[in-house]
């Protein structure tokens, strides 16, 4: 049987953990996406040193387990005199891990734009960066938005691993409450529901934004008119 009293007694505490998860993830994404953009541009740079560094960074963080990265950040940084609280280490590790994936997504988005777009921008006298900013990147937004959303959801779930370095986020709080109450089922249902609610909210917001950003306006018009037709003809029932 479920013990409902646990939901009432411990929900505020769990919510506090959720709040920290939210803060960490927001910071990690706010750091990770710009870093990913820089890495993506760095990887295709003509300067060998820059592209080598960007490529190494991406491949390192893409091809090692996140939990190992977290341990490295947490145990190795103090060796070099960088003593940060677990929360900050968590944000840094999450941002670094995420940025490697964000970079690959953005790079794929840039590669998906026909070569002539960059050529026409360069041929008219724009610098590489001006071409990126004015011509290429605006066109990649609609392409990278869905995979970027996916990666964001993954990042939120991966943040649970930060419980292993004593960050008092959602999963850690759940573990603590479980230790107090010995009612794992009730506790982890609460934890799971909160992760689900957060991800579902983000996913549905992003779906709306994706629709608005959809590049091919002409096609949109056709789709919309089809939907109107279906509705008006009563097919939707």
């Amino acid at each position: 049987m479920l013990e409902y009293q646990i939901f009432f007694d411990y929900f505020p505490m769990i919510l506090l953990g959720f709040w920290l998860t939210l803060k960490i993830v927001v910071c990690a994404i706010a750091l990770g996406i710009p870093l990913g953009l820089i890495l993506a541009l760095g990887r295709r740079s003509n300067f060998i040193l820059i592209s080598f560094f960007a490529t190494s960074f991406i491949e390192l963080f893409r091809n090692t387990p996140f939990i190992i990265q977290v341990f490295l950040f947490y145990y190795v940084l103090p060796f070099y005199g960088l003593r940060l609280s677990a929360e900050y280490v968590g944000i840094l590790a999450l941002a670094a891990f995420g940025s490697a994936y964000f970079a690959e997504i953005i790079r794929a988005g840039i590669d998906a734009i026909p070569k002539g777009q960059l050529e026409s921008a360069r041929a008219i006298g724009m610098t590489d960066w001006q071409s990126m900013k004015n011509i290429i990147l605006p066109q990649t937004v609609s392409i990278v938005l869905p995979p970027l959303t996916n990666q964001t959801l993954t990042l939120i779930k991966e943040s649970a691993i930060l419980s292993t370095i004593t960050v008092h986020e959602l999963t850690m709080t759940g573990l603590m409450v479980q230790g107090e109450t010995f009612r794992p089922f009730e506790v982890f249902i609460m934890v799971a529901l909160l992760y689900w609610a957060l991800n579902e909210t983000i996913a549905s917001i992003m779906r709306r934004i994706e629709k608005r950003y959809s590049r091919n306006r002409k096609q949109n018009k056709i789709v919309r008119s089809k939907i109107d037709f279906i509705k008006s003809s009563g097919f939707s029932r």
Binding site: P114, G116, Q117, E119, S120, A121, R122, A123, I124, G125, M126, T127, Q130, N134, I135, P138, Q139, R215, N216, R217, K218
Partner: protein, 256 residues
């Protein structure tokens, strides 16, 4: 002797093992219209693209009004990169596949580079854009998205985009080859106006009719070399080399 407006000197370009350009030299005076013809893969597009260094040549020089475009050593300094962008802003380029920017509407396609590269104020840039769109016959398409334009309209938009930069030289890479036959005329008539205004142009084209009527000179290329060049009448009516004869025969076969 008056120095040439544009000098292309001993350009070489290799793609892997293929010699795309072999010691190509070409002089162009101001106001001249040069039409480059030749079988596909003969290097005519590559030649055009080396002029504004979109494809940097392996060796050789391109000189516009006495100034070297790009660099003649192969390495580019920061300063040379900057001046290359200034050159490119003054050299209009039109592509076979139009390459209009689909995320910007027609007006913004013509405005954006004026603001970003030429540092014009938005008011001024828009005024100029509207004037030029009017000239190429896109007056009522100003707010339209490129996806809703026909091929001919897209190409005229691309030409307008180049013209807004006040180019002193235009490079046109098969501007009508991707168009349906009935749309070719509207683009050619825009080009005709440019010729009449005295624009210096290098055109890679298969439109021999246009070339013979408006070209001052026709250049025939094959396998990365300039085989023959001269005024349209001599080139098209009495070809000297076997290769050009063969090429013209093939072309006349397809037009039957």
């Amino acid at each position: 002797m008056k120095p040439n407006f544009l000098e292309i000197i001993d350009i070489n370009k290799k793609f892997g093992n293929i010699n795309a350009l072999k010691n190509v030299s070409l002089n162009v005076s101001k106001g001249e219209v040069i039409c480059i013809i030749g079988p596909s893969g003969c290097g005519k597009s590559t030649l055009l693209r080396t002029v504004n260094w979109l494809t940097p040549p392996d060796s050789g020089k391109v000189i516009l009004k006495g100034e070297i475009i790009g660099s003649d050593t192969g390495k580019m300094t920061f300063e040379q990169n900057r001046s290359l962008n200034e050159f490119r802003a003054r050299i209009g380029m039109v592509f076979q596949q139009f390459n209009v920017w689909p995320h910007l509407n027609a007006l913004e396609n013509v405005v954006r580079a004026q603001i970003v590269v030429r540092k014009r104020m938005r008011d001024e840039a828009e005024k100029k854009a509207i004037k030029i769109l009017n000239e190429v016959g896109l007056k009522d398409k100003i707010d339209e998205w490129p996806d809703n334009l026909s091929g001919g309209q897209k190409q005229r938009l691309a030409i307008a985009r180049s013209l807004a930069m006040d180019p002193i030289l235009m490079l046109l890479d098969e501007p009508t080859s991707a168009l349906d036959p009935e749309l070719i005329g509207e683009v050619l008539s825009v080009l005709r106006n440019l010729v009449n205004e005295g624009m210096t142009m290098l055109i890679v084209t298969h439109e021999l009719g246009f070339a013979s009527k408006f070209g001052d000179k026709i250049v025939f290329m094959d396998a990365g070399e300039i085989i023959e060049s001269g005024p349209p009448n001599t080139i098209l009516k009495s070809p000297k080399t076997e290769r050009l004869k063969l090429f013209l025969e093939k072309l006349s076969l397809t037009s039957l």
